[in-house]
Amino acid sequence: MILQIMLLCGLVIFAGLAILAKDLLKAALSLAVASLFLGIIFFRLSAPYAGVFEISVVAGLITVLFALTIALTRKDGEVKEARLVKIAFPLFFILFLIIDGLVMKSLLQKVPSLPAGPEGGTFGEVLWKQRTFDLVAQIGVILAGVLAVLALFRKKEEDKDE
C-alpha cells in the first residue's frame, strides 16, 4: 500500500513537473520519469502489456524523439508566461488533488469490482479477435497524424505553379 502511494505520488509530481518546468529538455525527462512510474503501476496492477508499452514507447521512444527535436531546434524561442498562469495552475492543481482525494476515496468503495466479463482472454486474442475494429481506428489515428505532419510542415509555395 505504501509503495503504491509512493508510486502514485511520484507519478503526480513528475507529471506536474513536466508541465511546470521551463526548460523543455527537463520537461521531456520529467514526462519520461512520470511514464516510468505509470508503467510500474501498470505492472503492479497485473497489466504487463500496458506496462511494457508505456515504458518502451512513452518513456523510451517518445522521450528520444522529444530530446532529438529539442536538440535540433533553436534556443531563442523562449515564451514568456503571464504571472497569473504561473500562480493559477499550481493552485488549481492542489485544489484538484484535494477534491480528488475527498471524492474518489468515498466513491472508490462504491465501485463494484471487475466481474469476469465476456471480453477476457490472452492479450493477442483480445487485440486481434475481439478488438479488431480498434485496429482500424488506430490506423485512422496514425494516418491522420502522418497527414497532419505532411500538411503542417509543408513548403509554402510548392504547388502553385500547375
Binding site: G117, Q130, F133, V136, A137, A144, E162
Partner: protein, 492 residues
C-alpha cells in the same frame, strides 16, 4: 456495403499524398468528390433495408474466418450518415475553387477524408471504446485542418482547440474506463445490461458528469465553448463549415445522446441538467453573437446557440422532442454549412470578413446574397424554410412536456437569432454599395454551385417537411426512442 463509409475515405486518404505528386489538382478534386458522391448514394441505398429490417448488424469475414468487425446501423445512424455525406459533398465541391489560393489540395483532401472516415466510424460503432478512438481520428484531422492556413491566428486557434479537445477526450476516456471497470464490457448492449444488474447509481452519476463535460466540450455547449469562436473562424471556410455543420454534432451531440439513450438511460434529473445546459448555450451564445463584427465569428457563436436548441429538443426525452432535435440537427448542419461556405465566398470576393467594411454587395453578387438569405432565414426559423419546422417541433414538444419556461426562452432566442442574421444581411448585402466593391464579381462556379445546392436543400426540406419528417426523421427518432425502452431508467 456499410463498411465502405469508413474504408473508402481512409483508403483514398492514404493514397492521396502519392496522387498529389502526379496531379496536384484534377485527380484529387475528382477522386474526393466521386468518393463522397458514392457515399451519399450509398446512404440513400440503405434506406430501404433499414425500413424493412429496422436495423442491420454486419460482420466481416476475412479468408473464411469471422473477424470481429461489427457495425450496427439503425435509423438514427443512417440519418447521421446521410447528413454527413450530403454536407461533406457540398463542402468538397466548394473546395475545388476555394482551395486554389491555398494550394496543397491533395493534403487538404486527405485530411478531410480522414475526418469524414472518423465521423462515419463514430456513428457506426456499437462500442464505447471504439467511439473514443474514432472521435480521436476525426479530432486529429480537424486540428491540422484548422491550422491549414499556417498563419499565426490559425496556429493559435488550433493549439487552443487541441488542448481543450484533449481535456474533453480525457474526461470521456475516464468515464469509459470506470464503466468498463464496473461492467467488464464495452459494447452498448452488454454495458447497458451490466449497469442494470449493478446498483451503482452514484458512480453512474459521476460517469455521466464526465461524459457531459467531455462531449459538452466537443459540442461547445456553454460553459465549455471557449475554443469554438477561435477555432471555427480561423479555419479555411470549408473546414469551418465541416466543424460547425458536422463535427460538433457528431462528436458532441451524437456521441452524448447515443450513450444517454442507448447505454445509460435518460432520467428526469439528467433531462433537466441537459435542458438547462442547452438553454444557457442558446441564450448566452445568441447574446454574444449580436456584438460580433467578423461574419465567421458571429456564425461560430450562432452554432453554439443552435446546438443549444438541438440539445434542448433531444433532452426533453419525448418522441416529439427527439424528432425535433434531430430535425434541427439536420437543418442546422445544412444551413450552417451553407452560411460558412457563403462567408468563404464573401472573403474570396472581397478579401474581408469584417461586416463594417462590407455593404451593398447584393447588387453585384446576387447569387451569394440570395443563398446567404436562405441560410440565414432557415436558421432563424422563418417559414416556410426548413429551420422553421424543426424549431416549431422543438417548441411544441416543450409545451407538450409542460416545460413552458423553456418554450418561451426558445421563442425569444429565436427572435434574437433572426435579429443578428438580419444584421449580417443588412450590413453585407443591403444598403449603399461601398466604392471598394464596385468591380467585384460573383464567386467561381463550384463555390456558387455548392451554395445553391445547400440553399435548395433548405428550401425543399422546408416545403416538403411533412414527407421528409415522416419518412426520414421519425424512423431516426424512433430508433433513439427504442434505446430508451431498452435501458433501465436510473434514478440519478
Amino acid at each position: 456495403m456499410v463498411f465502405s463509409f469508413i474504408v473508402i475515405p481512409l483508403l483514398i486518404a492514404a493514397f492521396m499524398p502519392l496522387i498529389g505528386k502526379f496531379s496536384k489538382k484534377l485527380i484529387p478534386d475528382l477522386l474526393t468528390n466521386a468518393a463522397l458522391a458514392f457515399l451519399l448514394f450509398n446512404s440513400l441505398l440503405l434506406i430501404k433495408p433499414i425500413f424493412n429490417q429496422g436495423s442491420i448488424i454486419q460482420n466481416i469475414h476475412w479468408l473464411g474466418e469471422k473477424v470481429n468487425l461489427q457495425i450496427a446501423l439503425d435509423g438514427f445512424n443512417l440519418f447521421m450518415l446521410f447528413t454527413i455525406s450530403l454536407v461533406s459533398l457540398a463542402i468538397s465541391l466548394f473546395s475545388i475553387d476555394y482551395l486554389e489560393h491555398y494550394g496543397h489540395k491533395a493534403n487538404f483532401y486527405a485530411l478531410l477524408l480522414v475526418m469524414i472516415a472518423g465521423m462515419n466510424g463514430l456513428v457506426l460503432v456499437p462500442d464505447l471504446f471504439s467511439i473514443y478512438l474514432f472521435l480521436e481520428v476525426a479530432a486529429v484531422a480537424s486540428y491540422a485542418l484548422v491550422a491549414f492556413g499556417l498563419g499565426y491566428d490559425e496556429l493559435e486557434a488550433s493549439f487552443k482547440y487541441l488542448m481543450l479537445s484533449a481535456v474533453a477526450s480525457a474526461f470521456t476516456l475516464l468515464s469509459i474506463t470506470i464503466i468498463f471497470g464496473m461492467t467488464g464490457s464495452l459494447s452498448f448492449q452488454a454495458v447497458s445490461q451490466g449497469l442494470q444488474d449493478l446498483s451503482a447509481r452514484y458512480v453512474i452519476g459521476v460517469c455521466m458528469a464526465f461524459f457531459i463535460m467531455g462531449f459538452g466540450l466537443k459540442a461547445a455547449l456553454v460553459p465549455f465553448h471557449a475554443w469554438l469562436p477561435d477555432a471555427h473562424p480561423s479555419a479555411p471556410a470549408p473546414i469551418s463549415a465541416m466543424l460547425s455543420g458536422l463535427l460538433i454534432k457528431v462528436s458532441g451531440i451524437y456521441a452524448l445522446f447515443r450513450i444517454v439513450y442507448s447505454v445509460i438511460g435518460m432520467s428526469p434529473v439528467l433531462s433537466q441538467v441537459l435542458m438547462a445546459l442547452g438553454t444557457i448555450s442558446m441564450v448566452v451564445a445568441a447574446l454574444l453573437a449580436c456584438g460580433q463584427k467578423d461574419i465567421k465569428r458571429m456564425l461560430a457563436y450562432s452554432s453554439i446557440s443552435q446546438v443549444g436548441y438541438i440539445v434542448l429538443g433531444l433532452a426533453v426525452g419525448t418522441p416529439l422532442g427527439i424528432a425535433g432535435g434531430l430535425f434541427h440537427l439536420f437543418n442546422h448542419a445544412v444551413a450552417k454549412g451553407l452560411l460558412f461556405l457563403n462567408s468563404g465566398s464573401i472573403q474570396h470576393i472581397t478579401g474581408t470578413r469584417n461586416l463594417e467594411e462590407l455593404g451593398g454587395l447584393g447588387k453585384r453578387v446576387p447569387l451569394t446574397a440570395g443563398t446567404n438569405l436562405v441560410g440565414s432565414l432557415s436558421i432563424a426559423g422563418v417559414p416556410p424554410l426548413a429551420g422553421f419546422w424543426s424549431k416549431l417541433i422543438i417548441i411544441m414538444a416543450l409545451i407538450q412536456a409542460k416545460q413552458f419556461g423553456y418554450a418561451l426562452i426558445a421563442i425569444l432566442a429565436s427572435i434574437l437569432t433572426l435579429w443578428y442574421y438580419l444584421l449580417i444581411q443588412r450590413k453585407a448585402f443591403f444598403g449603399q454599395i461601398n466604392e471598394k466593391w464596385l468591380n467585384i464579381k460573383e464567386a467561381p462556379f463550384w463555390m456558387s454551385a455548392a451554395n445553391v445546392i445547400l440553399a435548395l436543400v433548405c428550401i425543399l426540406v422546408g416545403i416538403f417537411y411533412s414527407p421528409v419528417f415522416k419518412a426520414w426523421i421519425s424512423p431516426a427518432a424512433e430508433a433513439l426512442a427504442r434505446g430508451i425502452q431498452q435501458v433501465m431508467m436510473w434514478g440519478i
